[in-house]
């Protein structure tokens, strides 16, 4: 198999790293964790024999590794809550800040796996098979897990959750 060249990897990374990062960030709610996980996912991709993979296969591979790494972290620490303070800094106006915090608080109230499931289903528009692959769960379980996640989000949208703000120092 011909190895992936540095130039080809550079193009792939520039094009897809941000999408992977946003997925991991939305699922973990922590920018520092997202940085670590995305870097590790790309390093693992390069260490594997992926020379014959097409662009879409590489993308799926990185999402899968990132999903597995997130699952490992969730197993280690079930108490983590996402930091939402940076959302305010990213918004441009006061209305945007308020809306961004509402949206982020609502999403943060879901469990990490539910966030990842919903992101893959609605934003990445993955199939059940792809979601199962990305999160390391059985294909038959995806439909049930996704159904629960959607029901939880529906409930949260009817009754917005007010999570306490974290101090900026506690964000990393």
């Amino acid at each position: 198999m011909p190895p992936l060249t540095e130039a080809a990897f550079g193009d792939f990374y520039r094009r897809d790293a941000r999408a992977v990062w946003t997925y991991v960030y939305r699922a973990t709610g922590n920018a520092a964790d997202a940085d670590d996980i995305v870097q590790e996912a790309f390093v693992r991709m390069l260490r594997a024999d992926v020379g014959a993979f097409g662009e879409e296969d590489l993308r799926r591979y990185v999402f899968r590794v990132a999903g597995n790494l997130m699952a490992d972290r969730w197993r280690r620490s079930r108490r983590e809550r996402p930091s939402i303070v940076h959302e305010a800094a990213a918004a441009s106006s006061r209305t945007d800040v308020s809306e961004a915090l509402d949206v982020t608080r609502t999403f943060a109230a879901l469990k990490p796996r539910e966030r990842a499931l919903l992101w893959l289903a609605y934003v990445e528009e993955d199939t059940h098979e792809e979601i199962a692959d990305a999160l390391g769960v059985k294909r038959g379980s995806v439909k049930v897990l996704l159904s629960r996640a959607r029901a939880r989000l529906r409930d949260l949208l009817n009754l917005p959750v007010r999570a306490p703000l974290r101090r900026p120092g506690g964000a990393r």
């Binding site: 540095e6 790293a17 920018a31 995305v38 260490r47 990213a90 949206v103 609605y122 529906r154």
Partner: protein, 102 residues
Amino acid sequence: MTNWFSRDVTLEEERAIVAFMARLATMPAPDTSMLSGHNHIWWKAQLLRRWDEQRRAARPLAAMEPVQLVAGLTAAALVLLWALPSLTAALAQVVASVRPLA
């Protein structure tokens, strides 16, 4: 486009979920990311690959170490067994030559 409609949420609720997720997807992510450049990741992966290859190459040597030890000890035991009659005879000769002097 994937169709995620199912019986547990109404069409209206599904629309609200889709709109919510679309809003979340378009929200600017915080600019606090310290994501490494592709060069850093590329070279880190190359170093780790090289290390993997070295470990793979050295694996048979490491696996043979206990075999070497067992083979050495067995050979030493066999030599000792083979030489034991001669050693006993030599020792008896030495003892016999020392006794008249005493």
